[in-house]
Point group: C2
Chain length 150, copies 2
DNA sequence: TAAGTTAGTTGTCAAATGATAATTATTAAA
DNA sequence: TTTAATAATTATCATTTGACAACTAACTTA
């Protein structure tokens, strides 16, 4: 197996994933929520409850900017903060009922596009897809380890 | 196979791909090239020669903004325009020698991170990874078709 | 308890990006 | 041959995003 060739394949693959992800989400109406704010909401939805620091680190947004954007979201009633019992400096963030239903709609939209793409897939196809994702997520796209590291 | 469950797996997978892609590229020194400009260069590198319209459509940047950002890149000597012989309105864009070596460095950096992630993989592993990417790119992450369509 | 560290906030500034209108030149269609 | 459509440019403006400094409060460690 030529590693160089595998790398080229990976570049093409990653490009396709980005492209398809964009296509699957692009016609969901964000209203006056900005892309960065939506990214934060998505992260909160999946990982709630989360702290501000966690959002900041995972979404690669500085603490001041995270704080600012999150404030806009809470002001709009999309998420809620509550004090961490174990550490009074910390605040946990979760979606409000409104925020939850907004994100439910977003995910429903994504899932519709997703199911459309798989409309002609057989049971065997779906199984192969699930296995393929698992293979990649356990190797190339495994998270939580660094190379050079800063 | 539960489609709902597969969707959740896909969300997790896509998140991992985005995360790892970011990690693999983040410590490459962009100098004073902005992220959007880098995205354009990457697209040109892979698909050259390309027209302005193609960049605009594929990178989802309006024509005026594409034109503006591309002008900055050509002014810096990173890419070159040349007239399309078949249509005098069109201009093809390709990387200059300088732009080419910049992108070579960028890809080399990515590849280094890539190979590091696969450093413990056996021949059999690499084969499974290649096959997995192929499976997904032929199904879920197939490009060039739309659902609702605008 | 003093000093240092962590979590988060507020304010301000500059740069990057997105959006729109108006324009030229060229090609395609009626 | 007028008309409409396409490819690209320029100019302008508003918004978004990123970066930095200064700050408070709470926690940790020596």
């Amino acid at each position: 197996m030529d590693n160089k060739e595998l790398f080229h394949q990976a570049v093409s693959f990653i490009t396709a994933v980005h492209q398809v992800t964009f296509d699957m989400t692009k016609d969901f109406e964000l209203g006056d929520i900005t892309p960065v704010q939506y990214g934060m909401l998505e992260y909160i939805a999946v990982s709630q409850p989360v702290t501000l620091s966690e959002i900041s680190e995972c979404k690669h947004i500085s603490m001041p900017n995270t704080s600012r954007e999150l404030k806009k979201l809470t002001d709009r009633g999309l998420c809620e903060k509550f004090d961490a019992p174990e550490d009074k400096r910390k605040q946990y963030i979760r979606l409000s009922a409104v925020g939850q239903s907004f994100m439910n709609a977003a995910f429903a939209h994504m899932e519709k596009e997703f199911q459309y793409r798989l409309r002609h897939s057989t049971e065997a196809d779906l199984k192969r897809i699930a296995e393929a994702m698992q293979v990649l997520q356990e190797s190339l796209f495994q998270e939580g380890f660094k190379s050079g590291g800063a």
